[in-house]
Subunit: 156 residues, 2 copies
């Protein structure tokens, strides 16, 4: 029987930045990420969910070593575009489940979320692709999360 | 020279749903997606960005054929957990750039966003993985978006 999930990964060398209430109009995402690219900052996750009242938040993750410079650049762009503010934390970890068997399997994401909930771990950010589901959580919960996911998906 | 982006994909058979201002505590993501999984609904993108004032929005996409049932289920969960409401649209398309060369290349996402901005296309949702950057846009802009991205990334 095909294994649904083939592995669990954990990235502790990550920081999150969010630029809050940016105008929801063409060109804004470009402005933010071209500024970061110009400084050669590698952006990992980029997450933008549904807008509200003509504004949106855009959150992203970078390595901890790039975090301070990324924050400085983001604050600059935030001022320029009239965003409400910027949030920042280095105290996070990105935990992911990976697998070719996940596509078109409705229960896999729910099972990952259930596992984290059972450990009392709050999910800060979520992003998915066909072969990977990633959750950003407190860095202090990372080890517990990885252990529980290994167990739930029979990977121990 | 390695090609950064190897392809552009477009999924027009997609609808977006967002559950607004859900309590930001463990177990909520599980509740929503287990309800959808129980109904055998395949969820494509799941997007959760930064929280605000102890609530968060969770948006996701499904096929158009699953959309009405997914909406019904989501409204049920929304009431149960005290979310503010649910948003819904079938008038969307998911446009993605794909490539192994994108990892650790800061400019690629910015270039995709620039291309959409140049066409006057507003980016509704964004999600990324190491090999894929996806933007949700108006369905009516999809063809224009794909053409422009092919051109920008020399794929025509
Ligand atoms: C919010 C941001 O993504 C904006 N909608 C844009 O297209 O750039
Ligand atoms: C908002 C939702 O993701 C919540 N934080 C949870 O862990 O389920």
């Amino acid at each position: 029987k095909e294994r649904l999930v083939s592995g669990v990964t954990c990235d502790l060398n990550t920081a999150k930045i969010a630029i809050l209430e940016v105008p929801d109009r063409p060109g804004i995402a470009y402005k933010i990420f071209s500024a970061l690219a110009k400084a050669n900052i590698n952006v990992d996750m980029i997450i933008q969910s549904i807008m509200r009242d003509n504004v949106n938040d855009i959150s992203f993750t970078i390595s901890e070593s790039d975090a301070d410079l990324a924050l400085e650049i983001t604050k600059g762009v935030a001022d320029e575009i009239g965003a409400k503010g910027v949030k920042f934390s280095k105290d996070v970890a990105k935990v992911s489940i990976v697998g070719a068997g996940m596509v078109n399997n409705p229960g896999v994401a729910a099972t990952m979320f259930e596992t984290l909930a059972e450990e009392g771990i709050n999910i800060q950010m979520i992003t998915t692709s066909e072969i990977k589901i990633s959750c950003l959580i407190d860095a202090s919960s990372a080890i517990k999360a990885v252990k529980a996911l290994h167990k739930k998906f029979n990977l121990s």
